[in-house]
């Protein structure tokens, strides 16, 4: 291993943290072993996905092949792409293909996740600004309360929530999935508050002298400066909502209200021996976010790392 002193000669920008040596890495056998190890580990991490993808285009009889093979037989144009259209037909349960089953669930998931994300960003940033910059009566008390609720498991509040939603006649609508997460996100408030505290007070004071109101300061100065934590929080919120299983499972009954995870689970229950169809369904639910993730991975991963260091 090269010593840390050597790394000082590398440029400060390219230098990886702890001085681990891009330029030198190819001469050092220990680092080659690490590369091989990580490559193998990455392949193992990716294998279940590859299995899902390739299995989704296998003919049904191929799945009982021993030993199992990753790739379907034949060339890609011989693969059984019709598993997807079959899965669409089966999940639509008689309705038009575009207004039921997967496309409908896709739309449900998409619009719920989008609304919740936008709403959460608005309400969390407002509360974060108040906690960070406005001295109002009871601020410390409310803040402690917000922090303390992060400990409460969702399973404890879901029973009363279910009863409350029943009284409101909100069960089996999308409202219980939209309204509570928009109006309450302790993590989001806490995360953004940490960032607002990092913005120099002088900026705000200068704006106050110029006669800007609180509202204007918030919308025209604070919000633009919160862009990167808001993007991170937005991504977490969207991901969490898109993939959420627990709340939709409790609150939704009719299949035309279902979100993607529920439809996939229902499909699994209804066609339990149709393994290739199930893989097609799983692919349909996983692929959009995987593609987004591959393109936006830097923002997502760095946002998560940032949120961790702020909390």
């Amino acid at each position: 291993m090269s010593t840390a002193v050597e790394t000082r000669t590398e440029s400060a920008v390219d230098q990886p943290v702890r001085g681990h040596r891009i330029g030198r890495s190819f001469r050092n056998p220990a680092l080659w072993i690490i590369q091989v190890l990580m490559a193998v580990a990455s392949i193992f991490m990716a294998l279940p996905f590859l299995w899902m993808l390739f299995s989704s285009v296998k003919p049904l009889d191929e799945i009982f092949q021993q030993p199992p093979k990753l790739l379907p037989q034949g060339m890609p144009w011989h693969w059984k792409w019709s598993n997807y259209t079959d899965a669409f037909d089966q999940a639509s349960a008689g309705g038009a293909w575009w207004s039921s089953g997967f496309p409908l669930a896709f739309w449900n998931s998409f619009y719920i996740a989008t609304l919740v994300t936008l709403g959460t960003l608005l309400t969390s940033s407002m509360a974060a600004y108040a906690f960070a910059r406005i001295r109002f009566f009871g601020r410390g008390f409310w803040f402690m309360l917000f922090l303390a609720t992060m400990m409460v498991p969702a399973q404890l509040t879901i029973i009363p929530l279910f009863i409350i939603m029943g009284q409101l006649k909100w069960v089996d609508t999308h409202l219980p999935l939209i309204v509570p997460p928009i109006l309450f996100n302790a993590f989001g408030v806490f995360l953004l508050r940490q960032y607002v505290r990092g913005i120099p007070v002088e900026l705000e004071e200068a704006a106050q002298i110029d006669g800007a109101s609180r509202f204007r300061i918030f919308t025209q100065m604070i919000l633009p400066l919160l862009k990167s934590p808001m993007v991170a929080l937005g991504i977490f919120t969207f991901l969490g909502q898109w993939n959420n299983f627990f709340y939709p499972l409790i609150f939704l009954n009719s299949s035309d209200k279902f979100t993607l995870p529920l439809v996939v689970n229902q499909f699994k229950g209804a066609y339990s021996s149709n393994w290739t169809g199930i893989m097609a369904a799983a692919t349909l639910s996983a692929l959009p976010l995987l593609i987004v993730f591959i393109f936006a991975q830097r923002q997502i991963v760095e946002g998560i790392a940032l949120s961790g260091s702020k909390t």
């Binding site: 943290v17 609720t149 996983a286 961790g308």
Partner: protein, 347 residues
């Protein structure tokens, strides 16, 4: 802002509050400094007019504060505090959610503690946590250490590790339902090739159900922890390692004397959050088994969902959930107490 500015010059301390043209301009500049410290000093030194202005400012701050807080405060009360109080009351009631409700004291808790299956499910949950949290954290830490040294390939590996994290648990579970099915599983075939003559029928073998769920959840949870550990490792100043190298410290010494102490806050954060998460394991089991999970594969949250939303016995469900909450509070509290012994804060 109608407040009469208190001319508390930042350099010279308290100036007379006379309002001639010169001090007026000074005051305008100083108005900008009206933060907490100034307010407190104002309170001490100002005259009656300032006190009145201060009161006005406080009123306005209260108004603004609560206006900005309003949506989240409504949510906090309606969707967190309210339900929380309601849940605690429910735990002492017999109620199916529609008809009669009666207070039965600790009756629900008696039911819970006398139920053989709940005890088994609690043990399953503990067993899951005991297996999952250490294997997840240790492997994530090791992978983070290795990943740091991979230079330009780092992003590629990181993508592979993090991808399961952005995938719906349901999709992950159905894929693993296949991978854990011995008749068609490439995993079983692979293990046979490696010399394990009779790999288990994971989900139908009482010994292997929980380890199988651990395997899936570690696979899915690894990416997040790797990223967190990498962020922690990047905050360790490289000058420390350089100094240690000069002093002739070995890699092992660097690990135990520098790296681990300096990332101990990350370790604490991850151990608290992952214990909380592992106590709530549910999605995998529900997708694997639907409503008919075998006794050896059920967890506490699975029981809560079954008793509350299949049998509509809200009281027992709330009692179980309350016990889960208390267990989490105790565990987190213990970790926070124990941190004084081993967590090292640089600031």
């Amino acid at each position: 802002m109608t407040e009469r500015p208190q001319a508390d010059g930042e350099v010279v301390g308290v100036q007379p509050a006379a309002a001639d043209a010169v001090t007026e301009t000074l005051a305008v500049a100083n108005k900008a400094k009206a933060d907490l410290k100034l307010q407190q000093r104002v309170e001490q030194t100002a005259g009656e007019t300032h006190r009145r202005a201060l009161r006005k400012r406080r009123m306005r701050d209260n108004l603004h504060g609560y206006a900005f807080m309003a949506p989240q405060l409504v949510g906090l009360l309606a969707f967190m505090i309210g339900p929380l109080v309601f849940a605690i009351i429910l735990a002492f009631m017999k109620w199916d959610g529609f008809g009669n409700r009666t207070f039965i004291g600790f009756g629900n808790f008696e039911t819970v503690f006398q139920n053989e299956q709940y005890r088994k499910s609690a043990l399953n949950t503990l067993w899951f946590t005991a297996l999952q949290v250490p294997s997840l954290m240790v492997s994530a830490f090791l992978f983070a250490l290795l990943l740091q040294r991979t230079g330009p390939m780092k992003n590629v590996y990181r993508t592979a590790f993090f991808a399961p994290q952005v995938t719906a648990t349901v999709a992950v579970s159905v894929v693993w339902l296949w991978l854990l099915n011995p008749e068609i599983s490439p995993l079983t075939a692979g293990l046979r090739k490696l010399g394990w003559a009779a790999p288990p029928d994971w989900l139908n073998d009482p010994t292997f159900v929980i380890p199988a769920v651990v395997l899936v959840s570690v696979w899915q949870g690894l990416g997040y922890q790797v990223v967190m550990f990498m962020a922690g490792l990047e905050n360790v100043p490289s000058s420390m390692y350089e100094a240690a190298s000069i002093d002739g410290a070995s890699e092992v010494q660097k690990m135990f004397r520098i790296t681990l102490p300096l990332i101990s806050p990350t370790i604490l954060f991850l151990s608290i959050t992952s214990i909380i998460g592992s106590f709530q394991v549910f999605d995998y089991i529900y997708v694997f088994f639907d409503t008919t999970a075998p006794a050896y594969g059920r967890t506490i949250v699975y029981e809560i969902v079954q008793v509350a939303f299949r049998e509509f016995n809200f009281g027992v469900g709330a009692a179980l959930a309350l016990l889960l909450f208390i267990a989490l509070l105790l565990l987190t509290g213990l970790q926070l107490i124990a941190q004084k012994k081993w967590v090292f804060y640089t600031e």
